[in-house]
């Protein structure tokens, strides 16, 4: 069941084509990462979904939207650099946006306390937002995005600006949010996407060049690859495999070498045989699986 259906979404800024026809669906209850380099169009896409930008062409349909084109009740949005009323306190701000989203005064109060606790800034709730650090603002930003229990939570680079500790905490928070709503977040940090999300959309130059789950990517892009680490220079040991029929290519750098092979089993046997026969100073032998980063490089180069 698709929560959101995006059909041929196009956005031009003056003459510049920023988004060149996106088609995708977001399923209810999934976590989807929008991945792309800087300038790929991630923010523009999210802003169109949030209703802050009008698409030049194409449609965005939400399941269960009341009024055509106004689905703001169903979404929560955190911009990349959230800005608040600096003169308000965190509690005042959350109560304010809660009431604007249609919560009653009592509900807004309760929900505010709950969320301040959840995102971990309840100690600072009566402090002016102007005095908040970047990490605290990011947390407050997440709290304001989910205050009205939206069906779709959209976060624009929620962890890029955070230190490692804050990043970890926000990722854990995203894990919790996944249980309540569909989460769509953009990032250029591939590890974060791999960690939290089931499903991934690759955006490149305003087009979706690849989409699917991590498993699908592995199947599609998996190349049998054997990584070796030696004590000393790797080149001398592996270069004789260059003429081997099972081996497609060899990469070596310092004490590391990677062999891309056709038949994993056959290659494994011949490498390990040589290792034993020639008494290689081998530290590590690994049959590696592809990482999201490699998928990214591959799909971008295509």
């Amino acid at each position: 069941m698709a929560l959101v259906r995006v059909d041929n979404l196009v956005k031009n800024f003056k003459e510049m084509k920023v988004i060149k026809g996106l088609d995708f669906e977001l399923e209810a209850g999934k976590c989807v990462a929008l991945i792309g380099a800087n300038g790929a169009g991630k923010t523009t896409t999210l802003k169109m979904l949030a209703g802050l930008l009008d698409p030049t062409e194409g449609t965005i349909e939400f399941e269960g939207e009341e009024k055509v084109g106004d689905h703001r009740k169903l979404i929560g949005y955190l911009p990349q650099h959230p800005v608040f009323y600096e003169w308000m306190t965190a509690r005042e701000f959350l109560e304010y946006v809660g009431k604007l989203s249609g919560l009653s005064v009592k509900e807004a109060k309760e929900r505010t306390e709950e969320l301040l606790e959840l995102v971990g800034i309840s100690d600072a709730k009566n402090r002016k937002i102007g005095k908040f650090s970047g990490g605290m603002k990011q947390r407050l930003g997440i709290a304001q995005a989910i205050i009205h229990r939206p069906k779709l939570i959209m976060l624009d680079e929620p962890v890029s600006a955070l230190d490692p500790l804050g990043r970890r905490e926000v990722l854990e928070l995203l894990d919790k949010l996944k249980l309540e709503a569909t989460v769509l977040f953009s990032t250029h940090i591939l590890n974060d996407a791999e960690e939290v999300c089931e499903s991934i959309l690759f955006l490149h130059n305003g087009e979706i060049i690849e989409s699917g789950t991590m498993e699908q990517f592995r199947e599609k892009y998996q190349q049998s690859k054997i990584d070796l680490v030696f004590k000393g220079c790797a080149e001398n040991f592996v270069e004789k495999f260059a003429n081997n029929d099972d081996v497609i290519s060899i990469k070596h750098e310092g004490n590391k070498a990677s062999l891309y092979v056709r038949d994993l089993e056959a290659a494994k046997v011949s490498i390990l045989n040589s290792a034993v026969d020639e008494n290689w100073p081998l530290y590590k032998f690994e049959i590696s699986s592809i990482s999201l980063e490699e998928v990214f490089m591959k799909v971008v180069q295509k």
Partner: protein, 259 residues
């Protein structure tokens, strides 16, 4: 409607946190009592600081109470308008420029409520400041010269308030249309002062123009009756206010909010 009041409450909170509720009324009151005081004490002031040669005789005709009151209104015409423009020029563009509008408008907030609540907040601030200021002026004129009938004060107030509300609404419109607060200030100030200048010289051609309202207030105070064109001028002022507000909402709706 409920949401509208939530937005309005926020405007009030903001205006008290940044002390607009202190400095705007105080400035209007000071402007109001400036002229009654200075014209009353002018002879003494000249005496004490004038450093004039002995025997100089200065004769200053004693102004009437109505004239003094009219003089203080002319302060609002210049400095009052400047204060209105400066205190509200960022009313819409400020939140858009800082980006906070992105957080507010992804919530189901109607554009109508967003603009009109801001307008209403500023309107209440300006019209109550003007009321206090004119009241202070009326009182000091009364104490130092003679008390004008209170009905004169009320008549002057509503017509003058109508004019300043029109100026305020023009500021709101420009702030919705232009990104930079400085541009808003420039456009409104130039528009208002040019219209005033033109209105002052072409009184016949522009007799229905809202810019003539301050002039008609003076006439009402000196002759004790409204000139005949006050009603069309007042009606047009209300109509323009309404039109500016509608335009502000439409422009704001069409503008893309995220950049």
């Amino acid at each position: 409607m409920n949401q509208w009041f939530i937005l309005l409450k926020k405007e009030f909170l903001e205006m008290s946190r940044n002390y607009k509720w202190v400095w705007v009324p105080i400035t209007f009151i000071l402007l109001g009592i400036l002229d009654p005081l200075t014209s009353y004490y002018l002879p003494q002031i000249i005496d004490s600081v004038g450093d004039l040669p002995e025997g100089t005789v200065i004769q200053i005709p004693e102004p009437s109470a109505a004239e003094v009151f009219i003089m203080s209104l002319s302060e609002y015409q210049l400095i009052g308008i400047l204060i209105i423009v400066l205190s509200t020029m960022a009313i819409v563009s400020g939140e858009r420029k800082s980006g906070v509008v992105q957080l507010i408008l992804v919530k189901p907030v109607s554009y109508f409520s967003y603009i009109t609540s801001k307008w209403a907040g500023a309107l209440i601030l300006i019209s109550s400041s003007l009321f206090l200021g004119m009241l202070a002026s009326w009182y000091y004129t009364g104490v130092l010269y003679e008390f004008l009938p209170f009905s004169d004060f009320l008549a002057a107030y509503w017509a003058y308030a109508l004019w300043l509300i029109l100026v305020l609404t023009l500021v709101v419109l420009c702030s919705a249309a232009l990104k930079h607060p400085g541009a808003t200030a420039m456009v409104t100030l130039i528009t208002v002062f040019v219209l005033n200048l033109v209105g002052g010289s072409l009184t016949h051609a522009l007799e229905w123009s809202p810019t003539q309202l301050p002039l008609y207030v003076s006439e009402r105070l000196t002759t004790n009756q409204w000139p005949e064109h006050i009603w069309p001028a007042a009606g047009l002022a209300a109509l323009f206010t309404f039109a500016f507000l509608v335009m502000a909402i439409l422009l704001f709706k069409r503008k893309e909010l995220a950049d």
